[in-house]
């Protein structure tokens, strides 16, 4: 593998007694769209700001492009940042904002003009050159912030929750636009977000963080399909959990006793985070089916519908399994001929052993 563009090792950050980051080891590859995902207060923004040079490390090292960033101030790092508030200079026009970093580099005027025009084109803000920042919409401000950073052709672009201030529709549009931009410019993007959907749809790889620690680093498919811990599984998408106990291991197979489902044999690889401390089984709601009429499934279990949420294209059922207090969720696509069950109805829930994950 080629040298990673960003290498963090043994990184710690303390604020007094409070440890914001603990033992972060992470490699980010050149040209990747990488996301730091986690609930608020998990340290993801601190980590991003540490990469940008706005936070000093308590211990550990940070290399960008193989060069140690120790003692290198933010204005000398090959990174640029899109701030959560966008931080558009209010006393400057759109063009002046975008030219800011180029002027800081004391480039010739003609070159600055050409680069600014190109950047304005790239983010689709033609004709807005002389617009004052207070006369811009949220989406336009975001584009100015992007252009202002990208025009400097950084090695890494850091984005601090850039979409959180936008409404849903604009957010979706900007998601695909960010992705398109990233592919077009080929710059490594590091995005901080608390929105799992955003991270899943945009990223090549995602680091999930809790309490200042990285829980799992993986591609979106692996993160969703094979989360390594119960925490990650619960944070990304919906997941039903059943108590479980590993009875015996024989070769590549595990003998497991699962709440409501009974004694099962699972392949070792379905213990995605290793065998140590496994005490629950997770299954995604869409991996379960409500069986109708003569439909059959690999396995099935009798259950009672306790709640129905009808979403038009989908129906979410809360169903109560025997020998489990809390109901589990089953999501069904409302295809032709499928009837929506009512609360209190008996349901046959179909499942398969291959959709179960053994988690700690």
């Amino acid at each position: 593998m080629t040298q990673p563009i960003i290498r963090l090792s043994g990184l710690d950050k303390f604020y007094g007694e409070f440890q914001a980051l603990s033992q972060i080891d992470l490699d980010i590859q050149t040209g990747e769209f990488f996301s730091l995902l986690g609930p608020s207060g998990c340290g993801k923004t601190t980590l991003l700001r540490a990469i940008a040079g706005f936070e000093t490390l308590s211990s550990g090292s940070l290399h960008i492009d193989g060069v140690s960033m120790e003692g290198v101030p933010a204005n000398k790092r090959p990174t640029n940042m899109v701030f959560q508030s966008y931080a558009i200079f209010p006393h400057m026009s759109v063009a002046e904002n975008i030219a800011y970093g180029l002027k800081a580099r004391k480039l010739p005027k003609a070159e600055i003009k050409a680069s600014v025009a190109e950047a304005i084109n790239m983010v689709g803000l033609e004709g807005f050159d002389d617009r004052a920042s207070h006369a811009l919409s949220g989406g336009q401000r975001q584009r100015v912030a992007l252009a202002r950073a990208l025009v400097l052709k950084p090695r890494v672009l850091l984005l601090d929750e850039p979409l959180s201030a936008l409404d849903k529709k604009l957010r979706e549009q900007m998601q695909s636009e960010l992705r398109r931009l990233q592919r077009a410019v080929g710059i490594t993007f590091v995005l901080v977000t608390h929105d799992q959907e955003e991270a899943l749809t945009m990223s090549d790889r995602i680091a999930v963080m809790f309490d200042g620690k990285i829980e799992q680093v993986a591609s979106p498919q692996i993160l969703y399909g094979k989360p390594s811990t119960r925490k990650v599984a619960a944070f990304i998408g919906m997941m039903n959990f059943l108590d479980a106990k590993v009875l015996t291991t024989s070769g590549d197979n595990l003998e497991v006793e699962v709440q409501s489902l009974g004694k099962l044999t699972l392949p070792l690889e379905q213990a995605t985070g290793g065998l140590d401390g496994c005490n629950s089984v997770g299954v995604r709601p869409e991996m379960l089916t409500i069986l109708m009429g003569s439909q059959t499934s690999e396995r099935e279990i009798e259950a009672e519908v306790t709640e129905v949420y009808y979403y038009g294209d989908m129906t979410y059922y809360d169903v109560k399994l025997p020998a489990k207090e809390d109901p589990i969720t089953v999501t069904m696509r409302n295809t032709a001929g499928r009837e929506v069950l009512e609360v209190g109805a008996k349901a046959r829930v179909g499942w398969s052993t291959s959709s179960l994950l053994l988690l700690k």
Binding site: N75, P90, H91, E96, A104
Partner: protein, 292 residues
């Protein structure tokens, strides 16, 4: 009558009732004397009687007599100096409090800065006389250490003394608006400037200073307008060369027994101050609005 009843119950009427005591007070003590001074400036005084025929002779004297022109120019010059010194000293102090004092101590710092101004202004002027005087603190120290042989004479009873004393008096009033403006500068803008490659000094001149200009302009107005008409300070520490236009106005009203000329001088000074204030306000509008 119905219309009046309706008006009495309206919100604007209730608002007017609410402010009427203050409004009446202000009219009585501000507007009425001002109108009287304006009227006076168009009359003539003949010993103890006032000739109430309209004349612009007072203004002609006020604007053409070299002595009055000279005093007006000196007043302007002194207050421009005072304003420049005050703002230049106040800015770093405000900057320090806003950027380097931990948030929970900021209020205490501001409080400490205002403490000297609980003392009477007259007292502070006399203290400056003690500090700057011929046998004062500065001269005493310098001669004592043998740095100078003769006491410095350029620091008291001249314009320098007026500038020093007034600048000291007005500094907190300059620190406060600048501090408020600096507090309102979004710190992420300064980080953005750093991120985009600017060093500390460059991002100060490209981001922090332009964004705090409304505070600087407010400070300028607050200091400039009252100092141009200051009367006590030049009288006490200015000596004969430090006298300003307000001292002349007093002279006209009292010893020279020519109140109309004094009124004309006062109104002229007011006009000049208004002109400058409008220029500052226009500059402020420009900064607040940003690029159009």
């Amino acid at each position: 009558m119905v219309g009046f009843q309706k008006w009495r119950r309206s919100e604007s009427a209730q608002g007017l009732f609410l402010i009427s005591p203050t409004l009446g007070f202000a009219l009585l003590l501000l507007a009425v004397p001002l109108i009287m001074v304006v009227a006076l400036s168009f009359w003539t005084q003949d010993y103890l009687t006032l000739d109430r025929t309209f004349t612009t002779a007072n203004y002609q004297t006020a604007w053409t007599e070299p002595m009055y022109q000279y005093l007006m120019a000196r007043s302007l010059k002194i207050s421009i100096f005072v304003t420049a010194v005050t703002v230049l000293v106040a800015y770093p102090v405000a900057y320090f409090i806003s950027f380097h004092v931990v948030p929970k101590r900021k209020a205490m710092w501001i409080f400490l800065i205002t403490i000297p101004f609980w003392t009477s202004y007259l007292m502070r002027i006399f203290l400056w006389k003690v500090i700057l005087g011929y046998n004062g603190v500065i001269n005493g120290t310098l001669t004592g250490f043998g740095i100078i042989d003769e006491p410095l004479s350029f620091i008291l009873y001249n314009q320098n003394a007026v500038v020093i004393t007034l600048a000291h008096a007005w500094i907190p009033f300059a620190i406060l608006p600048i501090f408020v403006a600096l507090e309102r500068v979004d710190r992420s803008l300064i980080e953005a400037a750093e991120d985009l490659g600017d060093s500390g000094i460059r991002r100060f001149f490209r981001v922090t200073l332009p964004l705090s200009m409304p505070g600087v302009i407010a400070a300028t107005i607050i200091v400039f307008i009252p100092t141009i008409g200051d009367y006590v300070t030049p009288r006490l520490v200015g000596g004969p060369n430090g006298l300003m236009i307000s001292n002349m106005i007093e002279l006209q009203f009292k010893k020279a027994n020519n109140a109309p000329l004094g009124a004309a001088l006062a109104i002229s000074a007011m006009g000049i101050v208004t002109f400058f204030a409008l220029v500052f306000l226009w500059m402020n509008r420009k900064y607040v609005r940003g690029p159009s």
